[in-house]
Symmetry: C2
């Protein structure tokens, strides 16, 4: 095999009580990438469609993560990459994570799978680093492993694959405002109350148990964030209305995707998800802010060959 | 049935990362109680063996919880109670919880089980309240439900039954020192760092996943407390040594039981548990402090008729 085309999903990270540890990929929203073997060693980006991203291999997330892999694999040939970018950078649904993931996944396939998913996560984190200035696997791990994915620890890297409920859909609204990473990080509290921390711990326990026991009611009771959402949501217009109205309509829960500005809601079944998308639409339609909405099943696969 | 004899287990609460929410009962350590129907309405305590506890029904945990049940059930007869107390009060392994549990369980059986476990937990909490001055179900819920039990929320009361691994044993050392509840509470921090909270959340998630997947390695990586142990352990002599030596010898984890002074370690298999008991013994043998040790399988049943 000399060429491969892959789909790399958008991902929701910081899933409510799973702040900093829990994420999942979308089934029908994501980037595509074509990777092709070349005689010349190294990486070349030959095409970028969709968004304006750097061709400089030291500045593009996809090539930086690919080079981290090649530094270890040391093949005597190289790869050229075509990027079909569909996830808008800065949207909070794992755009850079998808880029970092697709290249290492594709090259690993072309090399005959010398690396496991945990190793691919490590490589992809090198790409994510240049995009976000922090080494994290919030989006990469769900994109690579599929389903509800917990990054239990970064050092050493430990990733847990949780069960995913079959009827679970996600609705996302991406209000096209810019939230600077520095602002979104700066607004996080350094200290939280022991009481709020205990609530969050209890909810995360409930969420993991709910996924193992297919208990939608418990999932609904558990999908809450007591630590971060109240701070970051101040940066997102209409957040409270998105949340209260979607939950009143039957959403399992609603919180911030990544560090925003996207907001996600979980729903049981596609029809409920479409209803909630309509609610999200109607709330933002009255504003002057451009926005995009997505409805997708939660993917149990993550990045795949297409 | 006019008379019943029940076994009510000792319990470990505040299980490491499960501070304030997670507990489990012991299979072979606990109180016994005989409860007998009487023509006279109300509750009488006719015998207390083992420890010096009040016969006054308004001051004894077992009768207070029983009366909470009778206030709702309103039978036209009453009950007399014989308490065979084996769990030392103030030990940190749920002595008052066992008292509160045994009476409501026994009376519910004699009445033909009008109440479910959640309702019995509510009644027993009324008894626990007079002992600890706080309404909590940390010990009661594990004693009633059996196995690893999470009190997800107190108001409304929500209890989750987690799976319990078959080979799991607990070793407990009870150093016979007194830690005042006020001191043990006062030493808790009001605020904790977001970073420590995130570690605890991640470990609790790992622990719940480990129980569902029978993953002892993950259980070992997850059985940690980043929020409370470092403060409360200062009140417990030799805590650091108990912990480091038991873990070096193969314990799955080691932390404070309840709010102390007892310390527990988890072990896979009985032989390992006995090895750890020897280690605990040898550490405290060099001190002037009286102590008791226990080894028990974790009970998947909780309170039972015997």
């Amino acid at each position: 095999m000399d060429e491969i085309r892959v789909f790399s999903p958008a991902t929701v990270s910081n899933v409510a009580c799973g702040f900093d540890i829990l994420g999942f990929p979308l089934e029908s929203v994501g980037d595509e990438m074509v990777v092709r073997k070349t005689k010349e060693k190294g990486i070349v980006i030959t095409k970028i469609e969709g968004f304006d991203l750097p061709f400089d291999i030291n500045k593009n997330v996809a090539s930086v993560s690919a080079m981290a892999l090649l530094d270890v694999a040391k093949p005597d040939f190289g790869f050229e990459i075509e990027i079909y970018k569909k996830i808008k950078p800065g949207s909070g649904i794992g755009s850079s994570g998808a880029s970092a993931t697709s290249s290492v996944y594709a090259i690993n396939e072309l090399l005959g799978r010398p690396f496991n998913k945990l190793q691919l996560t490590e490589f992809a984190m090198k790409g994510e680093l240049i995009s976000s200035n922090s080494e994290h696997a919030d989006n990469i791990a769900p994109a690579l492993f599929g389903g509800f994915t917990m990054v239990k620890s970064l050092n050493p890297l430990e990733v847990l694959q949780l069960p995913t409920l079959k009827d679970l859909f996600v609705v996302i609204i991406h209000p096209q405002i810019e939230i600077k990473t520095s602002e979104s990080r700066g607004i996080l509290p350094k200290m939280v109350s022991l009481s709020d921390a205990t609530k969050q711990i209890s909810d995360l326990g409930g969420l993991v148990h709910a996924l193992h026991t297919s208990d939608y009611e418990l999932l609904k009771k558990s999908l809450k964030d007591h630590l971060v959402e109240k701070h970051r949501s101040k940066l997102i217009p209409y957040f409270d209305e998105l949340k209260s109205k979607s939950i009143a309509a039957g959403a399992i829960g609603c919180s911030i995707s990544g560090s925003g500005p996207s907001v996600f809601a979980l729903a049981k079944g596609k029809q409920m998800a479409i209803n909630i998308e309509l609610i999200f639409n109607s709330i933002f339609s009255k504003s002057n802010i451009d926005f995009t909405t997505y409805v997708s099943k939660i993917s149990s696969d993550g990045v795949t060959t297409i």
